[in-house]
């Protein structure tokens, strides 16, 4: 199981590094070579190779090694970083991503695409060319020989040592966190016998410069033990996240030691340390050499190899430094732990509501005060806990520069991408589920929205199209917009298609936004020719479904000839909301407080046919009693709660207003999945269940009823038209 966690961590780290690598490559493409970006690419490749090596994921190691060799030459100016090089490196990054995916899917033994790999390796090896490469074999065969050579040298070649070898380094902060590396060593004594222990005063300064609470020491040791890896590994459970712990098995293959050396800041010194016990002098020397070169052959290569390692060592150190800084600022936390925390906070909120209910009944002002201050704290904890899950939407947006680059090449269109609001935050779980719909919208915009260059010039527009990604917060929601300055939606064509498909009849007169909404109907595509980008059967209806599953909404705005904007509106969080409680008969309903505009006494208003006149404006409303088919009460004053979703407002008629309340959203069972008017349920302080109203849906219902009362299709499932009941 620990192995699985480590594997996940590796996959995640590798993906982040690949993203960084891609961003750096695109940056170079956009604004020319700069050494910082080139170093970033090199570091990414180097670190991926290193981590993969620890797990003996040899396919990645051997491939990344070649990429790294090329990068090294780019870095030292021996190879130019030009357009073909950038494309090649982007493709290599993609292939490494495939290999990482294979690891994630537990199929790392299978080469995802041998032909692709061979092709890329050939291109890389051509770049490496004559000066120093390994392949003594004449030209035509290098690719075929490359893979087996790398692999044989990597798989075989065990070292002599019959002991486990452990290499331990710690983050500077471990002591401050109350962890004592010494105690782990002492505990390790229970698992086996410590041998050849070397205390490495890595970077330990003289006393004057010492930060006495920072951890400096590292350890290299052998362990004579009959236990298995899990038992040894288990010793470090508590410190693993804050340390770099490498455990090599008895007679470990040479490449594992090689990877270990590459991982540490000073391989030369470490090799010397290892040579004093763990490894023979010969083994230690060989561990310092890159793998391919060491396969029996060609001593001629040796000097070249040495210079290459020498050049790499400082780079490795630099990489480590950067990483150290990063790790101090962020800790990686498993998502499930966060979820657990948020669940607990949810329970806390419910329990708190229970306590304040009792306090209210007791009429004990001190008690009430105490409960009040606890409630405030709970609210802060809730916000802080939810905030932990908030990530900038830039995480999603960062994929798009590459996507836009590739697709615009493919389509032969010139398209500029403008990203704004990338630091707008939203819930992590949404980020993941947002990525695919956004991708689809972006592709659509580039494929169908933005015209070919000639058409643009003919229309008097600049030759390059512009695609904008924008995000911002608006009254309890996050809004994400994808806009293009393309040809816009053709209302007539959409309508014609919809009539052809039988979605609407020719007599119906639809407002513009209603026409645009037809695009989201299943199986709707107006593209005259299906390209291989969009129009592959996955339509905007899937986008809409995805967004709705996040309790969000998607709408289209368009001006013919000037462009289209797809606007997605999502709630900020999926877990806990500030709710407003209302009562109908004895049932309590919760409305998300952010969406409530005002509450009015209905008696004073002139209301007919589900529309009231509010300050001179018509406002459609829905009676919750009728919506949920609750029995009528004799008398009673009714109140109108005005809610807003997006730009539309509607009223909800209820019996009583109960006030604010923190609602922990519990999902509804499968059974209720077809009921549109409810988005979830919550538990009240006294243990009763209340339903949370789906305001977006209710507002739609109300507005549609107002617009087309005769259109029976418009009314939602539960909402029998008012007349029948009233």
């Amino acid at each position: 199981m620990d192995m699985d966690m480590a594997r996940d961590a590796l996959v995640q780290e590798a993906r982040e590094l690949l993203d960084a690598m891609e961003a750096a490559l695109l940056q170079i493409e956009a604004s020319g070579a700069d050494s910082e970006a080139i170093n970033a690419i090199f570091r990414a490749a180097h670190t991926i190779k290193g981590s993969a090596g620890l797990f003996a994921f040899n396919r990645i190691v051997s491939f990344t090694h070649i990429v790294e060799s090329v990068l090294d030459r780019v870095r030292t100016g021996k190879l130019p970083i030009d357009a073909p090089m950038l494309s090649l490196l982007l493709n290599c990054g993609d292939y490494i991503a495939q290999l990482v995916d294979a690891i994630a899917a537990r199929v790392e033994e299978v080469e995802p695409d041998p032909a692709r790999r061979a092709e890329l390796e050939e291109q890389l090896n051509q770049l490496l060319g004559e000066p120093a490469q390994t392949h003594a074999a004449p030209a035509p065969a290098p690719v075929a020989s490359a893979i087996p050579a790398a692999q044989t040298s990597v798989v075989e070649d065990p070292v002599n040592s019959p002991y486990w070898h452990l290499s331990l380094r710690f983050l500077p902060d471990v002591l401050r966190m109350g962890l004592d590396p010494l105690s782990f060593l002492q505990y390790l004594g229970n698992v086996g016998t410590l041998l050849n222990l070397r205390t490495l005063p890595e970077g330990l300064p003289p006393l004057a410069q010492l930060d006495p609470e920072q951890a400096y020491l590292g350890f290299e040791l052998d362990l004579q033990s009959e236990e298995d890896r899990a038992a040894i590994d288990g010793v470090f459970d508590f410190i693993r996240d804050d340390a770099s712990i490498v455990i090599l098995s008895p007679h470990a293959p040479m490449h594992e030691y090689r990877t270990l050396l590459a991982l540490r800041p000073d391989p030369q010194m470490l090799a010397e340390v290892l040579a004093q016990g763990t490894l023979t002098a010969d083994e230690a020397a060989r561990a310092l050499l890159p793998p391919e070169e060491t396969v029996e052959s060609v001593p001629v290569n040796a000097p070249v190899v040495m210079t290459e390692t020498a050049a790499k060592a400082p780079a490795a150190r630099q990489g480590e430094d950067k990483k150290g800084g990063y790790e101090q600022k962020f800790i990686k936390v498993e998502v499930s732990k966060l979820d657990l925390l948020i669940d607990l906070v949810g329970e806390l909120v419910i329990a708190g509501a229970g306590a304040s209910l009792i306090a209210n009944r007791r009429k004990d002002s001190q008690f009430e005060e105490a409960v009040q201050s606890i409630a405030e704290l709970v609210e802060h904890i809730r916000d802080a806990a939810l905030n932990l899950r908030m990530v900038p939407i830039g995480e999603v947006f960062q994929r798009f520069p590459r996507v836009v680059r590739d697709i615009s090449h493919e389509l032969g269109k010139e398209i500029d991408l403008v990203v704004t609001g990338a630091d707008t935050e939203l819930d992590k779980s949404m980020v993941e589920r947002l990525s695919d719909p956004l991708m689809h919208i972006v592709r659509n915009a580039m494929d169908h929205g933005i015209e070919a260059t000639e058409a643009r010039l003919a229309a008097g527009k600049p030759a390059a199209g512009t695609l904008r990604l924008n995000a911002f917060h608006e009254s309890g929601s996050i809004v994400i917009e994808v806009s293009d300055d393309g040809r816009g939606l053709n209302k007539a064509r959409i309508l014609a298609k919809a009539i052809e498909r039988g979605l609407v009849t020719a007599e119906q007169s639809l407002a513009e936004h209603e026409v645009f909404r037809l695009i989201f109907e299943a199986g709707f595509s107006t593209a005259e020719q299906v390209t291989n980008l969009s129009g592959r059967g996955v339509g905007m209806d899937v986008v809409k479904k995805n967004i709705e599953s996040l309790r969000g909404e998607v709408e289209m705005l368009s001006t013919e000839g000037a462009g289209t904007t797809v606007r997605i509106r999502l709630p900020l969080t999926l877990a806990i909301i500030d709710g407003f409680q209302v009562m109908v008969n004895e049932s309590i309903f919760v409305i998300p407080l952010d969406l409530v505009i005002e509450c009015i006494d209905l008696a004073g208003l002139d209301g007919h046919h589900d529309i009231v006149k509010l300050r001179g404006e018509p406002l459609p409303f829905i009676r919750l009693r009728e919506l949920f088919e609750l029995p009528r009460l004799e008398h009673g004053r009714e109140s109108l709660v005005v809610v807003q979703f997006g730009q539309q407002r509607a009223g909800l008629v209820v019996d009583r207003l109960l006030g604010e309340f923190q609602a922990v959203i519990k999902p509804l069972g499968e059974l209720f999945s077809r009921i549109k008017s409810i988005s979830g349920s919550t538990i009240l302080g006294d243990g009763k269940v209340a339903l949370i109203l789906d305001v977006a849906n209710l507002v739609h219902q109300a507005v549609q009823q107002q617009a087309a009362p005769q259109n029976s299709k418009a009314a939602g499932s539960l909402a029998s038209p008012q007349k029948s009941n009233g």
């Binding site: 002591l175 401050r176 004592d180 590396p181 010494l182 105690s183 060593l185 002492q186 004594g189 410590l194 222990l197 070397r198 205390t199 005063p201 330990l204 300064p205 003289p206 006393l207 004057a208 010492l210 006495p212 609470e213 951890a215 400096y216 020491l217 350890f219």
Partner: protein, 105 residues
């Protein structure tokens, strides 16, 4: 604090006492203490370690770092009378030769 007697020869200078728990909890305090001891030391920094109780990673670092600083100031560190607890820890870390060798032990 120890006041070294300026007139007595270095060999007989009273060693600086370092005792109790040499751990992270006192690390900052001990660093200052050791810096001061080093400042007043003459020729050698002698530490009397007979009363060392518990010692952790921070404590070991402190000793190693003191040794480095002492070397910089050319007043080599001599660890005297190490307590059994200290001896055990240094033995496990294979630091005995480094810290307890020669002069003092």
């Amino acid at each position: 604090m120890d006041e070294p007697d300026a007139d007595t020869p270095p060999e007989s200078a009273r060693p600086h006492k370092l005792g109790g728990d040499i751990t992270i909890f006192r690390a900052t305090e001990l660093k200052d203490d050791l810096m001061q001891a080093l400042a007043v030391a003459d020729q050698y920094l002698d530490l009397d370690l007979a009363d060392v109780q518990e010692i952790d990673t921070a404590g070991v670092q402190l000793l190693l770092s003191t040794q480095l600083e002492a070397a910089v100031q050319q007043k080599p560190l001599r660890c005297l009378n190490p307590s059994p607890q200290l001896v055990a820890v240094l033995a496990m870390l294979n630091l005995t030769d480094r810290l307890l060798a020669g002069d003092g032990a």
